[in-house]
């Protein structure tokens, strides 16, 4: 009962010196605002990235060349010249959990149609790629088995490329020129893909797709592809099977890398949560500084009110009554600061999320952290001044001028 009474007194005292109370709370307000905003923005952004990655299909497996680190006089380089079309076929046939598997070669080239030209990424691949990456056809068709078997010079355009080259015209059936290195090749447009948008640092809409065999036999003469992309029915099992086959074939495990989308998701999650924690930690330091501000003002307040403390003790206040009174004052200050910070932090994260394009989330975690930390700070930094007040000798306090 006394505690609620003392809380009222504490609030009144804070109201008497509004500007001073506000300035003392500022550190806590800024600290909590930062913590709440960082956690909320971090979570929102991470969720958005995860969503777009998941939209590629979570059972996606990528088999890419290994990276050999420079060591003992060897230069670091990416392993090349190991993935053949035949190897891909074999991996697909012998891994029961691999539903589909396509080879791909990434390259770039200048595309021309009439007056228009466009620098695009060229992906040489095979039929099935569109299923693995969840692409939808807007017009015409994707590459089919016959295109690959016959090394046809046909191309499927990403939505950006189609718009840049053809504007409002219908691209289907049109012939475009692809200039790659010294060579110029005429291709017929057989399809256009729906827009997929930016996925992290990668824009599918800037890509064009041609049959992998056309690229190898007619354009570069290479016998090797860059990587394989596979659709698994169970990605964990599929990875085991592919790795087993590759180990038998290639012996050196440094030559290849098998990763699933799930692993990539996990990595992103780990990296981002580490980042969020780090940033929140830095914000936490400003909370600490805020606590020191509160301690400072409480020490001033104890000195200013020495006589009041003396009077209260003469009237029968026990040590704990004085302690509670000053502790509540520090607590009220830090908790009001925490509440204001919570609201501000939420406002900041709503604003930022509007630009970032994700839905803002206010997790229980950040509310607990915000309110919990600020009251902990109030307790920790309020206890010393409060104890100082409680310990005052009543006669000396009454004599204080």
């Amino acid at each position: 009962m006394i505690a609620s009474e003392l809380a009222k007194v504490a609030l009144q005292n804070l109201m008497i010196n509004k500007l001073r109370s506000f300035l003392s709370m500022l550190g806590i307000i800024i600290g909590v605002t930062a913590v709440i905003a960082i956690i909320s923005i971090g979570q929102g952004a991470t969720e958005m990235i995860q969503e777009t990655i998941s939209s590629l299909g979570s059972e996606l497996i990528t088999i890419s060349p290994g990276y050999r680190g420079g060591w003992g006089g060897r230069a670091a380089r990416t392993a090349g010249g190991i993935f053949t079309l035949e190897l891909g076929e074999e991996l697909r046939k012998k891994s029961p959990n691999v539903a589909q598997l396509v080879p791909s070669i990434q390259s770039g080239g200048l595309l021309k149609y009439g007056e228009n030209n466009y620098q695009a990424s060229i992906v040489a691949t095979a039929s099935g790629y569109e299923n693995i990456f969840n692409h939808t056809i807007a017009e015409g068709r994707f590459l089919i088995a016959e295109d690959v078997d016959n090394c046809r010079k046909v191309v499927v355009l990403g939505s950006n490329v189609a718009r840049e080259l053809f504007g409002n015209q219908n691209p289907l059936g049109k012939k475009i020129t692809i200039q790659m290195g010294q060579g110029r090749f005429i291709f017929e447009v057989v399809g256009v893909l729906e827009s997929k948008g930016q996925v992290m640092f990668f824009n599918f809409d800037n890509q064009v797709y041609i049959p992998v065999t056309t690229m190898m036999k007619r354009m570069t003469g290479s016998k090797y592809v860059n990587s394989y992309s596979a659709q698994a029915t169970d990605s964990e099992e599929a990875i085991k099977q592919v790795e087993f086959l590759l180990a038998k074939k290639l012996e050196d495990p440094d030559l290849y890398n098998v990763t699933s989308q799930e692993e990539i998701l996990e990595t992103i999650q780990q990296v981002s949560s580490t980042m969020i924690l780090m940033l929140a930690g830095i914000a936490g330091i400003s909370l600490l500084v805020g606590g020191i501000g509160i301690m400072n003002i409480m020490l001033v307040s104890v000195t200013e009110r020495t006589r009041e403390i003396g009077i209260r003790k003469a009237l029968g206040a026990k040590k704990k009554d004085i302690l509670i009174q000053f502790l509540i004052e520090a607590l009220v200050m830090s908790m009001v600061g925490g509440a204001v910070g919570l609201v501000l932090g939420w406002a900041v994260s709503v604003l930022v999320s509007r630009y970032g394009g994700w839905t803002p989330t206010l997790s229980m975690f950040s509310v607990v952290v915000g309110i919990g930390f600020s009251s902990a700070v109030g307790l920790v930094f309020g206890i010393y001044p409060a104890m100082k007040a409680a310990k005052l000798n009543p006669v000396e306090a009454l004599r204080y001028e």
Partner: protein
């Protein structure tokens, strides 16, 4: 035989306050400042005592000790048969709250609280409910003759005499056994000083024990017994015929 009976009576009923050769020594670095130098005194319930002496003679120090605000450096001190030298800080606070009321020269009201809230304070530390506190505070303020319209005023909105009335009301609220007043008229003009002294006399008539500290002879004349203090010692005592 006579002495035996006397001893027995004394054993049965100790005086309310019994101080025996009490000393208070302040230490200022290496220097010892003895403010009280061996004072013995007994006070019974219902007495009205004045402690008089020149400035610096140790009156306030003595009052603080008798009022359990401070402990003597050495000696024996019993209040209501309780050994105060052995009491804990919390116990002393409880005794001050329950059995003792203080009135100071500088009023010592809480500046940011209304008259009513000031009077309530000892009741708050006694753990009384809000209703009970307000009821008692109003009663107490009425008793010292403060007009009702002033109850909500802050100390700086009150005259010196009114402030001292509030202070007396505050001292009375927990119905203490004894009230200590340290130069209660020292900051007042003669008229309001006299009014305050009248209140004290009235309180004593109702059976309240009072100890009045002063350096003015005419103030001390209100009491029944005057204790003269000089250099931290009792110089003499006189009884006033009423």
């Amino acid at each position: 035989m006579e002495r035996c009976v006397w001893r027995l009576i004394k054993k049965m009923k100790k005086p309310f306050i019994q101080a025996n050769d009490i000393w208070k020594i302040y230490y200022m670095g290496e220097v010892e400042v003895p403010a009280i130098r061996g004072i013995s005194l007994e006070i019974e319930k219902g007495e009205f005592i004045a402690i008089i002496g020149p400035s610096g003679s140790g009156k306030s120090t003595l009052m603080h000790i008798l009022g359990c605000l401070d402990k003597p450096t050495k000696g024996l001190f019993y209040l209501d048969e309780e050994d105060i030298l052995k009491a804990s800080e919390n116990r002393l606070a409880a005794i001050r709250n329950d059995k003792i009321g203080f009135v100071f020269q500088q009023f010592n009201l809480l500046a940011r609280r209304s008259a009513l809230e000031n009077v309530e304070t000892p009741c708050l530390y006694a753990g009384k409910s809000r209703r009970e506190r307000i009821r008692r505070a109003r009663e107490s303020l009425a008793k010292v003759g403060l007009e009702e319209k002033r109850f909500s005023h802050h100390p700086n909105q009150l005259s010196g005499g009114q402030r001292q009335r509030v202070a007396i009301a505050r001292a009375l609220i927990n119905d203490p056994d004894i009230i200590f007043a340290d130069e209660p008229t020292g900051a007042l003009d003669t008229r309001s000083g006299d009014e305050i002294l009248e209140i004290f006399q009235q309180l004593n008539k109702e059976g309240r024990t009072l100890i009045l500290v002063t350096h003015e002879k005419y103030v001390a004349q209100c009491a029944q017994r005057i204790i003269h203090v000089k250099d931290g010692k009792i110089d003499s005592e006189e009884l006033i015929a009423q």
